[in-house]
Point group: C2
C-alpha cells in the first residue's frame, strides 16, 4: 500500500471508530429493530471492524439481532465483470421496491479494496437504489481474506433481516472462491451471462453452472435478442445434462434486459415459485440449518488451523515437514498426526 | 453386523495379525524392494491394520518405502456400477503386462465390506490379472470411514511403487465422495461410461465429468457401436463446454470394447501423450507435490477436528451450540471461536 493510501485507510478507520463509539449496542439494536438506516449502517461497520476491542460489542449486537431476525429471501448474484450485475441489481431492486418490498444489497467482492475506491464505486453504480427509501445498499467490506469478507457479509445479512429487509441481494464477482462462499449463504443462486458468440460456457469457473438455480441472459435487447435466444437454448441444453438438484429444483434459463427492464417479471415469478416450493417441502429451512452448521464447522476448522499454524513452537517443525513432504521423505498422514500431537501437548 | 460376520471378521483380523507378526519391518522392506509379492501383500496388510500397536511398524515401513519409491503412472478409474470397470481393468491391465509393464490394481470402494464378500469378490472378477506374474491385484481395504479407506490406498501406492510397479490403476465406484479422494491421489483420471439412450450425462455425480482427463465409452461392440459413437459425440460436446484445465490438458473421449480388446491402443497412446506432456512441462511433479501437501493439510484438519470433537470436556458445549445454531440463537462464527478457545485452554 502506498503511504497516501495507508493514510486514507487509517483516516477511514478513524472515522468508522468514532462513529461506533458514539452509540451503545442497545442504541444500535433499537435503531436496527425499527428499520432505521443510520443504525443499520453503523451496526454493519461495527461487525466489519477489525479492532479486537469491537469484537465483543459486535457479538452482542449480533446475538440481539438473531433474536428478532425476520425471514427473508437471500439471493446470490454472480457473473463475470462486464456482464451487467450492477445494472441488473439496480433495475431488479427497483422493480421489487416498487412492489413495496424492502431490499438490501450486499457484496462479496474479493477484488475490492480501499485503494481501488470501490467502497464508493459500487454505490455510485446503483444511483436509483441508493436514493430509494425501500433499499439499503452496502458495498463490499474491506478485508484481508476472502473468508473474512464473506463472514462479515454473512453477519450483515442477520442485521439487515433484523431491520426488516425482506429480500437480500448478494453480489459477487465470478472469480475464484467467492461464488462458493456466497452460494453457502443464500437460498437461491443466480448466474448472469451475456449472449456471446460461440462457446457460451467458456470463461465461467468450473462448478459455477452447477451451483446456479437460474441462469439469466442479460442485455437481451436490441440487436442482442437473437443471440440471447440462441444462448438461452444452449444453456438450457447444458443444464439439462446435469443431474437434478437435491431439493428437486430444476434450474431455468431466463432472458432479461436491465435497460429495457424486460424479463424482470419472469425472474420474480421464478423466485416466488422457488420459495413457495422450498418453503412448502421444508427444503428452505433445512438448507439454512445445514448452511449454518457448515459455517460453524468451517470456522471451527479455520480457527483450529489458524491457532496451529501460528503456534510459535511449531514453526520450525512445520517448515521441515513440508520440505520432507515435497521430497517424498515422509508420509503426509503420519507427519500431520505427529505435529498435532505436539501442538496439543 | 451379524454374529457370524463378526466372527468371520475377527478370524480374518487374527489371520492377518499372525501373518504380520511373523516378519519384521526389515524383512518386509527387503522383500518389497525386490518386488516380491508376498511381502508386498503383507506390507499392505500392515498398513491397513487398525491395531494401534501396528501403527509404528507401518510408519517405519512406509518411510523406508518412500526412500526407494519409483516413479509410476497413477491412474484413477471410475464409473457407475455395471459400466464394466473390472472388465476394463482386466483387459487394459493384461494389455499393459503383455507390453512388459508391471501393473498394480488397488481399489477405493466405499460400499465394500467383509459381509458383502467383496474382499474376494474383486479378485475373482479379474481372473487373468490375478494369475498374471506382472500384475498385483489388491481389493479395497475394509474401513470405518471413506477417508480411512482412501488413506490406506494412498499409502499402498507407495508400497507398490517401492516394489517396482510402473502403472497403478485405482478403481472406485462412482458414488459419493470417493472419486474426489481418488482424484486427489492420481495423475490421470478416467471416467467409464456406457452408450445409453438419451441423457448421457445423467446419473453421474456433479463434478465428476469436470475431474475426468478422459471419458471412455465402454462396451463399444456389436450392436452398441452406433450408440457408442453418438455418445462419444455428445460427451465431446459436453467436455468442450468446460473451461480448459490448469495443466492445459484437453480431456478426450475414446471408445473401448473390453471384450473385443479394441480401443486399448488408443487409451495407452493417450496416457503416454499425457505423461510425456505433463512430465515435460513439470505439471506432473507439481501436481504430486500439491496432492501431498493437500493430504497433509487435510489430515491435519481431520486430526484437529477429531481431537476437538472427541474431547470429553466439550461434549455438552458442542451439543448445546449446535442446538442454538439450529434455532438461530448464536452466530456460527463466534460460537466456533469460543469453543476452540475452551479446547486449547
Amino acid at each position: 500500500m502506498l503511504a497516501i493510501e495507508k493514510n486514507r485507510a487509517s483516516q477511514i478507520q478513524n472515522i468508522k471508530s468514532k462513529r461506533i463509539e458514539k452509540v451503545s449496542v442497545d442504541e444500535l439494536f433499537d435503531g436496527i429493530s425499527k428499520g432505521q438506516y443510520p443504525e443499520l449502517a453503523k451496526g454493519i461497520t461495527l461487525i466489519e471492524s477489525t479492532r479486537p476491542e469491537d469484537f465483543e460489542m459486535a457479538n452482542l449486537l449480533l446475538t440481539k439481532c438473531l433474536s428478532i431476525q425476520n425471514s427473508s429471501l437471500r439471493i446470490g448474484i454472480t457473473g463475470v465483470p462486464g456482464v451487467g450485475k450492477s445494472t441488473f441489481i439496480e433495475s431488479f431492486g427497483s422493480y421489487l421496491t416498487k412492489m413495496g418490498k424492502k431490499v438490501a444489497v450486499l457484496a462479496v467482492d474479493p477484488t475490492s479494496s480501499i485503494s481501488k475506491g470501490s467502497i464508493l464505486g459500487d454505490k455510485t453504480r446503483m444511483e436509483a437504489l441508493v436514493k430509494d427509501p425501500n433499499a439499503f445498499v452496502r458495498p463490499s467490506p474491506a478485508g484481508d481474506s476472502l473468508g473474512g469478507v464473506s463472514r462479515k457479509t454473512r453477519e450483515s445479512i442477520v442485521l439487515c433481516e433484523a431491520a426488516g429487509f425482506e429480500i437480500i441481494l448478494i453480489e459477487t464477482v465470478g472469480v475464484g472462491q467467492s461464488e462458493t462462499l456466497v452460494h453457502s449463504m443464500v437460498d437461491f443462486f443466480l448466474l448472469l451471462k451475456l449472449a456471446g458468440a460461440g462457446d457460451e460456457l467458456q470463461g465461467i469457473k468450473r462448478g459455477i453452472i452447477e451451483m446456479a438455480d437460474a441462469i439469466i441472459i442479460n442485455k437481451a435487447d436490441g440487436d442482442n435478442v437473437k443471440k440471447a435466444k440462441l444462448a438461452k437454448t444452449e444453456f438450457a441444453r447444458a443444464l439439462h445434462l446435469y443431474p437434478p438438484k437435491e431439493n428437486g429444483w430444476i434450474p431455468t434459463v431466463l432472458m432479461v434486459s436491465s435497460i429495457e427492464s424486460s424479463g424482470l417479471n419472469d425472474v420474480w415469478s421464478l423466485l416466488k415459485k422457488f420459495f413457495e416450493e422450498s418453503e412448502g417441502n421444508g427444503h428452505l429451512s433445512k438448507n439454512r440449518f445445514e448452511q449454518n452448521r457448515k459455517w460453524f464447522e468451517q470456522n471451527l476448522e479455520n480457527e483450529l488451523k489458524f491457532r496451529f499454524f501460528k503456534n510459535p513452537h511449531l514453526q520450525k517443525d512445520i517448515a521441515e515437514t513440508l520440505l520432507k513432504i515435497e521430497k517424498n521423505e515422509v508420509s503426509p498422514f503420519h507427519s500431520a498426526k505427529l505435529l498435532v500431537k505436539k501442538f496439543l501437548k
